[in-house]
């Protein structure tokens, strides 16, 4: 488990002006965010607000231009080296030539650990894919593939779980079902989690806290706790409270 902190984080990129010169522009920040141990935080915001940049900074895939990113007081690349990060992307993130089981073994191989058969079995069960252990990704549905990707992200019991639009490529019905699946999977170990999503409902349904980012440069416009008890039933989505919160967040997504 981990607590993490972004302090005065900005990320600038270079762009070419009409005159052909390069100029720097801020895509993100300054951003100050603290996330507590075991907290599930959803990050929402308009396209291009830098949500995915935040995730990449935490994954150690990108460096902030200014400011500091720390997970348990350490920079993300340290956690990377300790194999303490789990990540799942929207789609196409399984090795297509490996079976379900073999994909789940990947994090162990990278960490140089033996993959205990029972742990792999547990992960297969967690993903609800008993009987599909030896199937290749191409033989699975989109929802099944995403469950494998999430189970793989959890394989080494990471200190921080990063989810980048994990269900963005799924149809609405599958997506809804996967949301409940994710909560079930998440409750098994409750890792500190940051999920980037476009869907306000998904954020409210899954997160303990929702952060709304402004348009470029992305800053925190709103930081709201989601009070509902877990596990959250499907009926929750039909309550007035749920809709009030979702509407409030949606309103914050409109350009100021």
């Amino acid at each position: 488990m981990a607590s993490l902190a972004l302090r005065g984080v900005t990320r600038s990129f270079l762009r070419r002006t009409r005159a052909g010169r390069r100029e720097s522009f801020d895509a993100l920040g300054p951003l100050d965010v603290q996330i507590g141990d075991g907290e599930f935080v959803a990050l929402i915001g308009a396209s291009g607000c830098g949500k995915s940049t935040v995730l990449r900074l935490l994954a150690g895939l990108d460096e902030p231009t200014r400011g500091q990113v720390q997970i348990n007081g350490l920079p993300p690349h340290e956690l990377q080296a300790q194999h303490s990060l789990g990540i799942a992307f929207q789609e196409h993130a399984l090795l297509p030539w490996r079976t379900v089981e073999s994909n789940l073994r990947l994090p162990f191989e990278i960490a140089g650990l033996a993959a205990p058969e029972e742990r792999i079995g547990e992960l297969v069960t967690l993903a609800g894919l008993e009987g599909f252990e030896h199937a290749r990704p191409a033989e699975l549905s989109g929802g099944m593939r995403q469950r494998v990707a999430i189970a793989r992200a959890l394989a080494l019991q990471p200190k921080l779980l990063l989810l980048d639009e994990p269900f963005g490529a799924l149809d609405a019905v599958t997506r809804r079902r996967m949301n409940f699946e994710l909560e079930r999977i998440w409750l098994e170990s409750r890792p500190t989690t940051l999920m980037v999503t476009h869907s306000v409902e998904e954020a409210v349904l899954l997160a303990d806290r929702v952060l709304v980012l402004t348009e470029r440069p992305g800053r925190v416009r709103m930081d709201t706790a989601v009070p509902f008890a877990r596990p959250r039933p499907g009926a929750l989505m039909r309550t007035a409270e749920f809709h009030r919160l979702a509407d409030e967040l949606t309103a914050q997504l409109e350009p100021a």
């Binding site: 990449r56 994954a59 150690g60 895939l61 990377q80 080296a81 300790q82 194999h83 303490s84 990060l85 789990g86 990540i87 992307f89 196409h92 993130a93 399984l94 090795l95 297509p96 030539w97 990947l106 994090p107 191989e109 990278i110 960490a111 290749r136 990704p137 191409a138 593939r145 990063l162």
Partner: protein, 252 residues
């Protein structure tokens, strides 16, 4: 219906073509240099000439295979180096293009002087193979999914693990495509290399039979060359298809 499309129509096509060849050759419609099919086939039944073709095929196949192996290893190794050391890539790319731009006809005499008559066929076979494998290996290694690279990096994979667990495997179909095309190039290179004065080989037979007006032998040799090239290409195509199915591109 399916069987008819796949077997019957091609068979009819072949019979028409070969029959046409026989008729044109017998009637002498295209002159004395166009022999009939039976005349060409008789070469294979003629002991001394058949033995010459076997001997020469072995020599050419040996040169082509040697050049193929050398070009393949060098091309793939240099591509790997360029992939792992980005600093070198620009220079190596230009070097590969330069090697490819040299005309074989111009390179031949140089190789005769430097590598010797015996080695020139293999050397000329290696040159195009090197270029094709350098290109296809590089494209394959760079073609690994960006997203998978990010997943592996986040999980803490180092450079070597990303190479062995992702990039090298993702590159296999492209490498095999390169190997497939390179098989024909190696045969051409070896035969052209033999024209510059190799002691034996199909290229030598082609040249001699042309100069001595042994028309059926010339045709028989060309058919052997075509058959060898096509078998190499066909074999590698089968391997490539099997591997592509095994690796399962894109989806995942």
């Amino acid at each position: 219906m399916k069987l008819r499309g796949r077997l019957l129509y091609p068979a009819i096509g072949c019979v028409l073509m070969l029959g046409g060849w026989e008729v044109i050759g017998r009637a002498g419609l295209l002159g004395r240099t166009f022999p009939s099919l039976t005349e060409v086939l008789r070469v294979y039944a003629d002991g001394p000439r058949a033995a010459l073709l076997v001997r020469s095929s072995t020599a050419t196949l040996g040169s082509a295979a040697t050049g193929y192996a050398v070009g393949l290893c060098l091309g793939a190794a240099v591509a790997l180096l360029a992939h792992l050391v980005p600093l070198l890539r620009g220079g190596l790319d230009r070097l590969a293009v330069l090697v490819n731009a040299l005309p074989v006809i111009a390179l031949g005499p140089v190789l005769i002087i430097t590598a010797g008559r015996e080695s020139t066929p293999a050397a000329l076979a290696a040159v195009p193979v090197f270029f094709l494998l350098y290109t296809s290996t590089g494209v394959g290694l760079r073609g690994a999914s960006r997203r998978l690279e990010l997943v592996l990096t986040t999980l803490g994979a180092g450079r070597w693990q990303r190479l062995t667990k992702l990039e090298a495997i993702a590159a296999v179909p492209s490498v095999l495509s390169g190997m497939k095309i390179a098989a024909s190039s190696a045969m051409i290179g070896a035969i052209v290399g033999e024209w510059f004065g190799a002691p034996s080989g199909l290229g030598v037979v082609v040249l001699n039979s042309m100069q001595n007006f042994q028309i059926p032998l010339l045709w028989a040799t060309v058919i052997v060359i075509a058959a060898m090239t096509l078998s190499g290409y066909g074999l590698l195509t089968l391997i490539e298809q099997a591997v592509r199915r095994r690796i399962g591109e894109c989806d995942g």
